[in-house]
């Protein structure tokens, strides 16, 4: 963007911004905006959530994306990634990558555990930003609507693992996500996210405290809980997000109900992501480098 040099232009730009901002506020205050059946609020996401996350994505984590061309420009697809980092920042950064780096500026519809939807405030932020519950009816519905769906099959086993286990993929469960892709005949795009592991290096978990608050773990990191709220600031690691070649599910589409086929395909996806992780890690010798 070129910087306008004469005063009237600056005025006009300022005027436009003020007018756009006020119009946004008016639409929000009078409820004149659209949400989809899952509760996704595209306006709020584009105007409020994404700009905030973008700061973290660009300035704090200096994120770079590799092979974003592997993400389909249109149509439904299931994006499957590795999960890490104590809190699910990797999922949020992946939504920025899909929206900002891809020419089609696609919204990634995340799948969350039921714990996310139990919590007040968090549940509503999740829905408004396009997330929904990780259950097959919702996944199949989103994929049939030609949406890009993001899933982290490791779940809490992935985010809640200790720092010593970093970049080691955990079990993928029974692979329910694969059967959803098979049933809707949509490709699976594996993605490796490097960098999230170092944001909150988890040294251990205080189990009794976790049980008390009903969480799967209570993290202890080098800064949390020792530094109080300051411990919530993620360490500024360097992030790389790599999209792998889409896996065609068409050949297996009729076998969505065969648990062995589904399990093997899930395992193949897992292997792919694990080897992508190793390759991508080699590109980043210093976790906190530029």
């Amino acid at each position: 963007m070129t910087r306008p040099e004469i005063a009237p232009d600056i005025d006009d730009e300022f005027d436009e911004r003020v007018a756009a901002g006020l119009a946004f506020l008016r639409r929000r205050l009078s409820g004149q905006y659209e949400i989809d059946e899952f509760g996704f609020d595209p306006e709020l996401t584009d105007q409020v959530f994404q700009p905030l996350l973008r700061q973290l994505y660009r300035r704090w984590f200096r994120t770079e994306v590799i092979d974003v061309k592997n993400l389909p420009a249109e149509g439904g697809a299931l994006v499957v990634g590795n999960h890490s980092g104590t809190i699910a920042l990797d999922a949020l950064m992946l939504t920025v990558a899909c929206h900002d780096e891809h020419p089609a500026h696609r919204h990634l519809r995340l799948l969350g555990a039921d714990l996310v939807f139990r919590m007040p405030f968090v549940s509503e932020l999740a829905r408004k930003s396009g997330a929904t519950l990780a259950c097959n009816p919702d996944v199949e519905r989103l994929l049939t609507n030609e949406e890009l769906v993001g899933v982290f099959p490791e779940g809490f086993k992935g985010v809640g693992k200790r720092f010593v286990d970093r970049y080691k993929l955990q079990r993928f469960g029974r692979g329910g996500f694969v059967s959803a892709a098979l049933r809707t005949r949509k490709p699976i795009v594996p993605v490796a996210i490097v960098g999230a592991e170092e944001t909150y290096p988890m040294l251990g978990s205080i189990k009794p405290l976790a049980r008390l608050i009903g969480a799967p773990y209570f993290p202890v990191t080098p800064t949390f809980p020792w530094l109080g709220p300051l411990g919530l600031v993620p360490l500024p690691s360097k992030w790389l997000i790599r999209f792998g070649e889409p896996i065609d599910t068409e050949p297996f589409a009729d076998q969505a109900d065969d648990p062995a086929v589904v399990f093997n395909l899930a395992d193949q996806v897992r292997e792919t992501i694990q080897s992508m992780l190793h390759e991508t890690l080699d590109l980043r010798p210093d976790p906190f480098g530029e």
Partner: protein, 361 residues
């Protein structure tokens, strides 16, 4: 519970000659009875309720045979009338404090339906049964999918009385279906009704200047416009539509969005306080546990089966709600016009301040 298309279009359109409508002493029942009676093929419409209809419904009920029957005492008197279709609308969605409260509501909903279905089984002439149900049939759970199709099984029993009644009613209807497979049985799961009049517990609630909501929750809501509900009911009586159908306006509004569209003000209350207010006696401020459930979980259903089967798309949830808003506008605190005017004033103010600055510079 799958939709079965029966026969050809001409066959499906065969109208019943004698129709029984329960719940005619209320707006929905009376209007449905009037619309069916308006069809020349229908010879006789018999309206049933346990109380006499109020005077304002009298014009609708002209030409309709009225019978005072308390269904909870048994419905044997309806057996010999030669009815070919029966519409069961005597189902209450909220307790009426003047008529026995929740206990009477449960009696009428559950026992009334049980007795009525027992009578239906004895009617050899019966060809069609239409039962009012509700999207509350899906129960509430945090593990629910975002959108319910007719085949979604409830995961948890709802806390609210109406939701529980609906589960019981549908169980009785399933039993009836097994015993009378020759009767075309239509179960209509209605989203909350909305229209120009605020006459349901929920719409009365949304018509207040300050609307209590649950802190940290912004549920997705769906409504069905009363006129569209009436049309679906009319077609269900006059044509064959076997199966269970979600009846809702496509699309959704969040509660906060609905409150803003109607120019009301949200009053967020922590869930335990809301729960307590709804549990005390008849519920403080018109609150019920059904509403607390709805205000925490929200409820969105898929209407593809309805649209396919009936060839009729109800107006969207947003359009139906806007019809309600227009009728309630006089009580609005913040109207869109006022917000737009405030926006214009602010813009003008900013511009004039900047103009002055430019001049002095």
């Amino acid at each position: 519970m799958t939709a079965v298309t029966t026969g050809t279009a001409g066959d499906r359109a065969r109208a019943p000659r004698v129709v029984i409508v329960t719940g005619v002493s209320r707006f929905l029942g009376a209007t449905v009875a009037a619309r069916i009676a308006a069809d020349p093929r229908v010879r006789r419409v018999i309206g049933v309720d346990r109380t006499d209809p109020p005077a304002e419904l009298a014009p609708l009920l002209r030409g309709i045979t009225l019978r005072r029957v308390d269904l909870t005492d048994g419905a044997a008197s309806l057996v010999g009338l030669g009815a070919e279709a029966l519409v069961h609308l005597a189902i209450m969605s909220s307790p009426d404090p003047a008529a026995g409260g929740r206990a009477a509501m449960k009696d009428q909903n559950v026992i009334g339906t049980l007795q009525l279905l027992a009578a239906c089984q004895q009617m050899p002439s019966l060809r069609r049964l239409v039962v009012r149900s509700s999207t509350a049939a899906y129960g509430v759970s945090f593990r629910d999918p975002a959108v319910f199709t007719e085949d979604t099984e409830p995961r948890d029993v709802p806390r609210g009385g109406y939701g529980r009644d609906i589960l019981d009613i549908e169980a009785y209807v399933r039993g009836f279906r097994r015993r009378r497979a020759d009767v075309v049985t239509t179960v209509l799961r209605f989203a909350p009704f909305i229209g120009p009049q605020a006459d349901t517990a929920l719409s009365k609630f949304l018509a207040r200047p300050m609307v209590p909501t649950v802190l940290g929750r912004d549920p997705r809501l769906q409504f069905i416009h009363v006129d569209d509900a009436l049309e679906i009911l009319r077609r269900s009586v006059l044509e064959d539509h076997q199966g269970t159908f979600n009846v809702a306006g496509p699309g959704t509004l969040t509660l906060s969005q609905a409150v803003r569209r109607s120019g009301r003000i949200e009053l967020p209350v922590p869930e335990p306080a809301m729960h307590a207010a709804a549990s005390v006696g008849r519920g403080v401020a018109g609150l019920s546990l059904d509403q607390v459930d709805l205000f925490v979980h929200g409820r969105v259903v898929d209407t593809a089966r309805l649209v396919r089967q009936y060839g009729f798309t109800p107006r969207s949830t947003a359009a139906a709600f806007d019809d309600f808003v227009r009728a309630q506008e006089s009580d609005a605190v913040i109207t869109p016009a006022r917000v737009a005017a405030a926006e214009q004033r602010l813009l003008d103010m900013i511009r004039s301040v900047r103009e002055k600055r430019k001049v002095t510079r």
